[in-house]
């Protein structure tokens, strides 16, 4: 029996809240497990620094991910370098694992378009802000790969709120019809800003929505990085292998919790209880992987301390690098609107550039 033959509410688990093994531990060597743990620590530390940068006025609105490291890092670890990631706006941790430098993520939230300009060998799509609108892109991109006879897989991230959107339906439906190599990864963090999961759908699970599209659906404990890794790995394998005797697309519902606010502009105390937050914090994906790794003798105090200081240094370096980027030249406003700048846009730029020369930058920039 594969993970895809379970009941939709039969949540896949590997580690319980205390890090005790309750399922099949995936076949990962010690270095990979430590690396996974390190990435989760890195994502958590990055997240805290990013929120504080916003509070200090050094960054714009930022969507925090704390609590969701198990789902993000666990799933991204299952991707091959050639596979593609189609993120929403909260997948900083997943994108990091797939090769997107932290500096890029910081730049994007610091208002630089260049943040989305991933290095050419990093198969990560730009951030998609409108909810669920990236779902059809993931299907289309995977479809293109299939039509060309390539065997890459595509993982698309979105939240529980996205499953109420039409684009979720249309994107997943196309994937089912054309049997595209797409893994739809739903980060069900319980809250779409202030609206709870129960207000999105009467369905008992989000995973069961797969049934209507004729594709596989599976629910996994999103606070359990090893379970997430296993399920995503199985879904990607199935997506890549066109001979598999199953639909290539999969819908994964990773049940998890957003510890912090929707964004730095949101105050979650208005709509949810501290007790709820505390109960989910006891399921912390980082603590549970750490407990497991300590129990297995793979991690000890010394190793954890090393990791702690190395992630602090890495994030500090990324912040330095991002903050040292100069404000882009206004020419950049125009540069990529079209492959070749139409004459009218050239004129608009030149008119502005002449006035800027005359009046100086101070006339245009806020203090």
């Amino acid at each position: 029996m594969t993970v895809f033959d379970r009941a939709y509410d039969d949540t896949v688990r590997v580690l319980d809240e205390d890090g005790e093994v309750v399922g099949d531990v995936p076949d990962l060597d010690d270095d990979s497990l430590v690396e996974m743990y390190r990435h989760m620590r890195l994502a958590r530390h990055f997240d805290g620094r990013a929120v504080s940068l916003q509070r200090q006025g050094r960054m714009g609105t930022y969507p925090p991910l704390s609590g969701q490291e198990g789902a993000q890092i666990g799933s991204a670890y299952a991707l091959d370098a050639d596979d593609w990631m189609i993120p929403s706006y909260r997948e900083h941790g997943a994108a990091l694992v797939h090769g997107l430098p932290l500096k890029q993520t910081l730049l994007y939230w610091m208002g630089h378009e260049d943040g989305n300009n991933a290095p050419p060998d990093v198969n990560v799509f730009p951030v998609a802000v409108p909810i669920a609108s990236q779902v059809p892109h993931a299907t289309g991109a995977a479809w293109a790969s299939k039509l060309r006879g390539e065997d890459d897989a595509f993982v698309c991230y979105f939240g529980d709120g996205a499953t109420s959107e039409g684009d979720f339906h249309e994107g997943v439906n196309f994937a089912g019809v054309f049997d595209t190599p797409t893994v739809f990864f739903c980060n069900n963090n319980q809250w779409a800003i202030s609206v709870p999961r129960e207000r999105q759908t009467r369905s008992a699970t989000l995973a069961q929505k797969a049934e209507a599209y004729g594709i596989d659906g599976v629910q996994v404990d999103g606070m359990d990085p090893l379970a997430v890794y296993s399920v995503t790995e199985a879904a990607l394998e199935k997506a890549r292998d066109p001979d598999a005797d199953r639909p290539r697309p999969t819908l994964i519902e990773a049940v998890q919790y957003r510890f912090g606010a929707h964004t730095t502009a949101d105050d979650p105390t208005v709509y949810r209880d501290d007790d709820e937050v505390e109960s989910w914090k006891r399921k912390d994906p980082i603590d549970r992987l750490e407990s497991y790794l300590r129990g297995e003798g793979i991690l000890d105090d010394e190793r954890v301390a090393e990791i702690e200081s190395s992630v602090e240094a890495q994030v500090a370096d990324a912040i330095d690098a991002a903050e040292s980027m100069a404000r882009p030249d206004p020419r950049e406003l125009f540069e990529h609107a079209y492959a070749e700048l139409p004459p009218e846009l050239e004129r608009q730029y030149e008119e502005f550039a002449a006035l800027r020369d005359e009046r100086g930058d101070a006339a245009f920039l806020e203090d």
């Binding site: 189609i86 378009e113 989305n116 409108p130 892109h137 293109a144 684009d167 196309f174 004459p343």
Partner: protein, 328 residues
């Protein structure tokens, strides 16, 4: 000697798709009824049989899904040519058009480009049901990052379509369905392009410049001929691309005549006529001898067909508008 065929506009579109499918194996045609059925207007007739279901793809009936999956395909380097069966049904896909199709290049600093062409028949005059007759081209012209092309002759339809498909930027290609079968023209069988962003002068005249595009080109020319018999000579300029506009040609025709009228079937407020008027104010105010006229659809929801002849600018309304500009 180039072989030609005598084709209607919709046949020329079909021929353009056919030629480009042969030229570029990364191109696919996709949409509702485009495959086996050959399109409700026959714009894709026979393409499914020749190129197969992986190149000429019948999709689920879902406009956002059609546009959104085409965005994903194009981001991976393919050249999808999605069809929306009527432009009145583009709105479920509107978010994909403005949030993604128009923005991907900018958003990724040019890493991801979307060489896709979204085709849709548009405009009124065919006695169609509700939602099948609107002209909402101004929505798309307002959206930076898109190009918007509207052909009005069979020869140019094929060439403009080829240019759109080969263009590195996303193109909204609106086909004036009123003239899909209105007349025939010799259309070369071989591939060729007609450049995007260039207007065409359809008639020379010194008294007044009349700017139009799409299906309105015909009644405008008809009005110009009638007025010509009375000694009023109209310069008729067919814009062909409404984004980016050929400002140079627009200004040149105006400087020659000092008077202008813009004709489109889309409603007046917020339409292209306002934009063209503003361009002329900016660039050629001192040439202006009369208020710039706008002969357009009314600012009302497009009517059912019992009233559509009153709604659409007719040769009579166009003549009247031109006379106002000339006699001012």
């Amino acid at each position: 000697m180039t072989e030609t065929q005598n084709l209607t506009l919709v046949q020329a579109i079909r021929d353009g798709l056919h030629t480009e499918l042969r030229e570029d194996e990364d191109m696919v045609v996709m949409g509702q009824d485009v495959g086996k059925n050959g399109g409700v207007f026959r714009a894709t007739e026979g393409l499914f049989d020749e190129f197969g279901g992986d190149r000429v793809i019948d999709t689920p009936l879902a406009e956002s899904g059609i546009v959104g999956t085409a965005v994903g395909m194009a981001a991976m380097g393919m050249r999808p040519v999605p069809e929306i069966q009527f432009s009145g049904f583009m709105y479920p896909g509107f978010d994909q058009i403005v949030s993604h199709m128009a923005r991907f290049r900018t958003r990724s600093r040019g890493r991801f480009t979307l060489p896709m062409t979204l085709r849709a028949p548009y405009g009124g005059g065919i006695r169609a049901p509700e939602h099948h007759s609107e002209s909402k081209e101004a929505f798309y012209a307002h959206e930076a990052g898109l190009k918007v092309v509207i052909p009005s002759t069979p020869y140019e339809a094929k060439g403009l379509l080829a240019a759109s498909i080969r263009d590195p930027d996303p193109v909204i290609f609106l086909e004036p369905k009123l003239i899909y079968r209105a007349f025939r023209e010799e259309v070369p069988e071989e591939p060729y392009t007609v450049p995007i962003g260039e207007a065409a002068t359809r008639r020379e005249g010194d008294d007044v410049a009349v700017f139009t595009y799409g299906a309105m080109t015909r009644p405008t020319l008809e009005a110009a001929e009638t007025l010509g018999e009375e000694g009023i000579e109209c310069e008729v300029v067919d814009l062909r691309t409404i984004s980016p506009l050929d400002r140079e040609a627009i200004v040149e025709a105006f400087e020659k005549t000092g008077r202008a009228v813009v004709v489109h079937e889309a409603p007046k407020t917020g339409g292209l006529a306002g934009e063209i008027t503003a361009i002329l104010q900016e660039e050629a105010l001192l040439y202006q001898e009369a208020p710039i006229g706008r002969v357009t659809g009314f600012d009302v929801p497009y009517p059912l067909y019992a009233l559509e002849d009153y709604y659409l600018p007719s040769a009579a309304r166009i003549e009247d508008g031109i006379l106002e500009a000339v006699e001012f």
